[in-house]
């Protein structure tokens, strides 16, 4: 079978799963029916109320476990169907991804892409673009190439694991079917995103994952904070999407197409034309704004920590492993444009340009700076959070920053490598935290945890492995990918960002070990009843954890750098086809680093990570409240307050954009609308009616007055003549005679 036969099925299976789960959920939960039916006849009435009550009592947290008390309200046969349909739909798409990758490999040897055009989507006719008249046509088309193969492979695999995990984790939830429907829809969208053969289809998936993210963050919609967080995520993403879509339009205007193959071919062949005047740079920056939204970078990162309001499997799948890396994927996908933008900046500005000049000319520079700063900034916030999922959320923002730092240093392969390894260990960490939360019946505060090491051994061990991986401990996956990014950053001319990133690595190691210590070591800080309740999660949850932990160990071995092994980096070699060479004079000069430098860089980051681990371990040993961190917080109360409150960025945004710009300004405009715009209309009405009254008065007094006046005058004047009408014939004859005489006289005179 050929790869193109398999490709459309990859997203289709989850979509079918979505339809089945969604319709079943609606059928089983609706109280539809004829209006005469007595209310609550379906037997769900009580369930709703008690769930509502229950949810309220867990305000402020992912209310997992809130449903323990009334699990019996879920119809068992429906539940069994949902448990099967969800994971199977995802599993089938995993299987077909594998088949597609194999078939593609067989057909092309991995050297070039295979594109399947399914149908013409938007035929927009012939239009005058920036470079002449072109027929614009947007297709529904999928492609497979190294980058896509990589993405569909791990997205569908990790996705399936998380589906299986959810069977256990969400087992007691009332909206079980709804959850799986959304999760399947997410898989569909994410796979469309990575399979899309043009920016338009990528955008379909892009918006689709945004929608699912919205639905799943707001999954516990009865609670305001969850609904708020969902909306915030969607709107923040939409701000980014405006950037994305403007970038997409810029590509349309430049190339007359948004098909990846055609676009990049044209650009690579003639970079000078498209780069002139900064057109490519503008397009890249616009696209990157989109990436900032989706991948939670400064200034659009604030939605991701709030997104933790969703169920934990969602945090693992969407807000750690897959969706949030879509921005990195997109930047890597458009690497040709970013490389051109960089070269153009170098060409126009020369080597020693100021930072400001580079930021306005070189899109990849912007990516690197935003990525590096976000990585550091988010890591500092992570230091002082006590909600286990919030720590992981800020850690995710920080790690995404790393990925962008890699891409911005034109090391797209390294960036994608970190996407890949991060997916394993961060998914494992989130699912592990979910397992802890599950064990504690919904508790998320690390200040109320501790000493769980032996109570949830599988969770502890897998999380520990993943923590080592994210901290950059040698020979685990995170070490290889993070080191690749750090080395490339330094070699490609960003020493300051490199220093920042190394520091961030230290911070990461610190706050991750802080998390492990606070959760699993020391004394349990919750109540006795809670402690009695603690239990290890079922196998549906621990098996995925172990598989992910295994990935966290071995994933890094796909990309062992050349200077260690002497052999070519397998990862880079695999991805090579997605970096087509640019026209002569536009390829950057390769920066070669000596082996000594590469070893030195690696050692530096290992040492810094080691310091971070040691400090984290030392600070959070002993009983709570931990003495050393407490002292530091006491010594620097102002700084602590800022960090603890995430630098008040949320509050500032809320005040400026939501309160002032949207609500106040919206109200103001409404006032304007009512008073002035509509006021003008009503004013003209009053004017008209007023004018009518004046007219009416004028009519009565003058016009009709004139008529009546004439009548009156005549009446008065002629009153005297009434006596003439006496009825006496003689008088009339006399008058007639006089009259005739007079007329004859006039006639004689005139003639």
């Amino acid at each position: 079978m050929k790869a193109e036969t398999f490709l459309p099925w990859i997203p289709l299976f989850p979509f079918i799963g979505f339809l089945i789960n969604g319709l079943l959920y609606l059928v089983s939960h609706s109280k539809m029916g004829d209006k005469d039916a007595p209310k609550g006849s379906h037997g769900h009435g009580e369930g709703h109320d008690s769930h509502g009550h229950d949810a309220a009592s867990h305000d402020g947290h992912d209310s997992h476990g809130g449903g323990h008390g009334h699990g019996g309200h879920v119809d068992i046969p429906f539940k069994a169907v949902h448990s099967l349909v969800g994971p199977i739909a995802s599993g089938l798409s995993c299987l077909f991804s594998l088949l597609a990758i194999l078939a593609w490999w067989q057909e092309t040897g991995g050297h070039h892409e295979i594109v399947v055009k399914l149908w013409t989507w938007v035929p927009a006719g012939e239009n005058l673009t920036w470079f002449g008249a072109k027929t614009l046509e947007f297709d529904v088309a999928f492609r497979i190439d190294p980058l896509t193969a990589l993405m569909i492979g791990f997205v569908s695999f990790i996705g399936t694991l998380i589906h299986v995990y959810s069977v256990g984790y969400m087992g007691h939830d009332e909206g079980y079917g709804r959850f799986f429907a959304y999760l399947n829809l997410f898989m569909f969208s994410m796979l469309v995103l990575v399979l899309g053969a043009n920016l338009g289809i990528l955008f379909v998936g892009w918006e689709g994952v945004g929608l699912c993210s919205y639905l799943l963050i707001g999954y516990y919609y009865q609670k305001d904070f969850a609904a708020d967080a969902g909306k915030k995520a969607f709107v923040m993403n939409r701000i980014g999407d405006v950037g994305f879509i403007l970038g997409l339009f810029a590509c349309t205007a430049m190339f007359g197409t948004i098909d990846f193959t055609k676009m990049f071919e044209a650009a690579a062949k003639d970079p000078g034309t498209y780069a002139a005047g900064g057109a490519v740079t503008a397009a890249c920056i616009a696209l990157f704004i989109g990436a900032c939204g989706k991948s939670a970078q400064i200034p659009l990162y604030v939605w991701l920590p709030d997104a933790m309001a969703g169920p934990t499997p969602v945090s693992a799948l969407i807000h750690a492993a897959t969706m949030v890396t879509a921005g990195v994927y997109m930047v890597a996908r458009c690497n040709v444009l970013f490389r051109i933008s960089h070269e153009w900046a170098v060409k126009t500005l020369g080597e020693n340009a100021s930072v400001f000049a580079m930021l306005t000319h070189d899109a990849s520079y912007v990516v690197a700076v935003v990525g590096g700063v976000t990585a550091f900034f988010a890591a500092t916030i992570g230091l002082a959070q006590t909600d286990i999922k919030k720590v992981l959320a800020y850690s995710t923002v920080s790690q995404l920053g790393y990925m962008f730092l890699g891409c911005g240093s034109l090391a797209f392969g390294a960036g994608m490598f970190h996407v890949f390894t991060h997916a394993w260990f961060k998914a494992c960490l989130f699912l592990g935290s979910g397992s802890v939360i599950h064990a504690l019946s919904g508790e998320q505060e690390m200040t109320r945890m501790g000493g769980l090491k032996n109570l949830v051994p599988h969770t502890y061990r897998t999380m520990f492995i993943s923590t080592l991986a994210i901290a950059g401990v040698p020979f685990l996956s995170g070490f290889f990918s993070k080191d690749a990014i750090l080395a490339e950053t330094f070699i490609n001319g960003h020493p300051i960002l490199w220093a920042l990133a190394v520091l961030t690595a230290g911070l990461t190691a610190f706050y991750m070990f802080r998390l492990v210590k606070m959760t699993f070591y020391g004394e349990f800080r919750g109540t006795k009843e809670e402690l009695a309740h603690v239990h290890e999660s079922p196998a549906t949850m621990t098996i995925p954890l172990w598989i992910l932990a295994g990935g966290a160990i071995v994933a890094g071995y796909l990309g062992i750098p050349k200077f260690i092994l002497g052999k070519e980096n397998a990862w880079e070699k695999f991805l090579e086809p997605i970096f087509p060479p640019l026209a002569a004079g536009w390829m950057p000069e390769p920066h070669h680093a000596s082996h000594a430098l590469e070893w030195g860089l690696m050692m530096t980051s290992v040492v810094v990570a080691g310091i971070g681990i040691a400090l984290g371990w030392a600070f959070y040993s002993g009983a709570y409240p931990f003495a050393t961190p407490g002292k530091i917080a006491g010594a620097l109360p102002g700084l602590y307050r800022w960090v603890r409150n995430k630098y008040f960025v949320d509050e500032a945004y809320e005040w400026l954009f939501v309160d002032r710009l949207i609500k106040k300004f919206g109200r103001f405009l409404w006032e304007v609308d009512a008073r002035f715009v509509d006021g003008a209309v009503n004013g003209s009405r009053h004017l008209t009616v007023g004018g009518a009254h004046v007219s009416s008065w004028f009519d009565k007094v003058f016009v009709d007055g004139a008529v009546n006046g004439v009548a009156n005058v005549l009446q008065t004047a002629w009153r005297g003549h009434r006596s003439l009408q006496s009825g006496q014939t003689q008088g009339y004859a006399l008058a007639m005679t006089f009259g005739i005489f007079g007329l004859v006289c006039i006639y004689l005179i005139l003639s």
Partner: protein, 542 residues
């Protein structure tokens, strides 16, 4: 198949006459008779979709042409191209749905109500079919009367104010347009004011005026454009002529709102497509400015202001219907922006967005009507937590809402996307400003959804709410199917309008060349390269 259009126009009229003879207390007979006649009209309109001519060229088909008032040159002349055909299909579908959704909503004076609904359909189809200015104007005004009564009799508490405002405001615009028509009529024959006549025999034939467009002096075209503009812009409605809309929507019964949003607003945009753009291309493309902006500049400015302003005001509305009404102002701003990008992408997108807006906003009004019937309030604050109580309703609402905010794979996206592509190519700033509307659209719609559907049920009354019944699902089903169809495979819709669009665009491209010719001539030495560079440099030069 000539005679089809007359059949379409007069079937509802026959229906209205038949209803006259039905006793007014036989409510089921009235309902089903109206359903029957509007259903027949819908079925009769289907051949328009399958007619291949629209897809091959931009000509007018289904022509009928009979002498009507010979002394004036007015004829009973009908004919449609792909654009009009699509809008007629939208009209017949939405009317059918409106009838079906009124069964329980309308309890008083049913007989008159259904008669007016059918008469309204007569006017609407007539407007889209007419190829004679005189006939067009008659239908244009005929349409106002039944809508006036629909709002004024079956409306909410401020129905009289709203109905009169609606009637007078639109009439005002129409009269100015009528002056434009008369001026055009005289220029075509003997001359008007200081503009010389063309010496043709008197006619109201719209196609004739399409042909003589290039013979009319540009300054006359500018005046005529603005005369027509007022008539159409009020109908659209464009900022700042929109204030009749929220009032009319809020007071109108559900069916009235659906038709008002779905079809009546399209009369305005259709007017631009059918009359202003092909008839006054030199006026549109003229380089003459007023306060620093050209004709296009002004229209685009008002469109963009409409998008952002409409969205901002929608954000803070406490009343669901008013919110949707203001969102219409924003959506129609998109349509106008697309039309006045005056390239294939923009105009095609604008036309498709007319259909999309009819589907999604029509759907939103139907949805608001569903809860209004149950709770008799449209205030957002009176709801909350409905998701739990009415899951199917919540799902349907979500789908229509997503269509409205332009989520890919649904219809709204295709329209907005194509419009913005067209606008971006002409001037990227237009697209950038308009794109703000996308963010705001998501914000106000999701906020609405959150307040109505999420959270706990706060009001005791809402705990008794029934989910949608089968009839309500059936009224929404065709809209949802179409939303997905256009979102997934809009090609057949684009094909309907592509050829007519090309003609309009070609007329404008030619006019633009004419407008630029004198300037080119004066700057002859450097003109040629400058022109070529201008096309490439202009969009990103600054």
């Amino acid at each position: 198949m000539s005679g089809l259009l007359s059949l379409l126009i007069f079937t509802p009229l026959v229906g209205a006459i038949v209803l006259l003879f039905v006793p007014k207390e036989k409510s089921a007979v009235l309902q089903w008779a109206t359903t029957f006649f509007s259903g027949v009209t819908f079925v009769l309109s289907l051949p328009l979709w399958f007619h291949q001519g629209f897809r091959q060229n931009g000509d007018f088909y289904f022509r009928e042409d009979i002498d009507w008032i010979p002394s004036l040159g007015a004829r009973y002349s009908l004919g449609v191209d792909g654009i009009a055909a699509l809008l007629i299909l939208l009209t017949t579908l939405l009317t059918f749905i409106s009838v079906y959704c009124s069964f329980t909503a309308i309890q008083k004076r049913e007989k008159e109500y259904y008669i007016f609904l059918l008469l309204l359909e007569v006017g609407m189809i007539g407007v889209f079919c007419a190829l004679d200015f005189f006939l067009f104007y008659v239908f244009w005004e005929v349409m106002l009367v039944p809508m006036y009564f629909l709002i004024g009799v079956w409306g909410g508490p401020r129905k009289l104010y709203a109905a009169i405002k609606f009637f007078l405001y639109t009439l005002f615009g129409s009269v100015i347009m009528l002056l434009g028509i008369i001026a055009l009529y005289f220029v075509n024959t003997t001359g008007f004011l200081w503009w010389q006549g063309l010496g043709n025999s008197p006619t109201f034939d719209i196609l004739h005026y399409h042909q003589i467009a290039s013979q009319l002096p540009a300054d006359l075209q500018i005046w005529l454009f603005w005369a027509f503009f007022l008539g159409f812009a009020i109908k659209v409605p464009m900022f700042p002529f929109h204030t009749w809309l929220p009032d009319a929507h809020v007071e109108a019964p559900t069916a009235g709102s659906v038709i008002l949003a779905g079809v009546l607003l399209k009369m305005g945009t259709y007017g631009f497509v059918r009359f202003s753009m092909p008839m006054f291309p030199d006026g549109i493309q003229s380089s003459a400015t007023f306060l620093g902006l050209t004709t296009i500049g002004w229209v685009v400015l008002l469109s963009i202001v409409g998008i952002i302003y409409g969205s901002m005001v929608a954000m803070v509305q406490p009343d669901m219907k008013k919110l949707v009404a203001y969102s219409s102002v924003a959506h129609l701003g998109f349509v106008m922006l697309g039309l006045f990008a005056l390239n294939n992408a923009g105009v095609q997108g604008g036309i498709l967005q007319m259909i999309n807006h009819g589907l999604s906003t029509g759907g939103l009004f139907l949805l608001v009507g569903i809860v209004y019937e149950r709770r008799h309030t449209r205030m957002i604050a009176d709801y909350g937590g409905l998701s739990h109580q009415m899951p199917i309703y919540a799902t349907l609402f979500m789908i229509i809402l997503l269509a409205s905010i332009g989520l890919p794979l649904l219809n709204g996206f295709i329209g907005e996307f194509t419009i913005l592509v067209g606008a971006f190519i002409v001037n990227w700033r237009w697209a950038a400003w308009a794109a703000l509307g996308i963010v705001l659209g998501a914000a106000y719609m999701l906020w609405l959804y959150q307040r109505v559907f999420f959270g706990e049920i706060k009001h005791e009354e809402n705990k008794e709410l029934q989910d949608v019944n089968l009839r309500e699902i059936l009224t929404l089903a065709p809209l949802i199917v179409l939303c997905f169809w256009i979102g997934l495979y809009p090609k057949p819709f684009f094909e309907m309008t592509a050829k007519s669009t090309e003609k309009i665009v070609a007329a404008n491209v030619a006019a633009k060349a004419r407008a630029e010719a004198p300037r080119m001539a004066t700057a002859a030495p450097k003109a040629a390269p400058a022109g070529a560079v201008a096309a490439t440099e202009a969009p990103r030069g600054n």
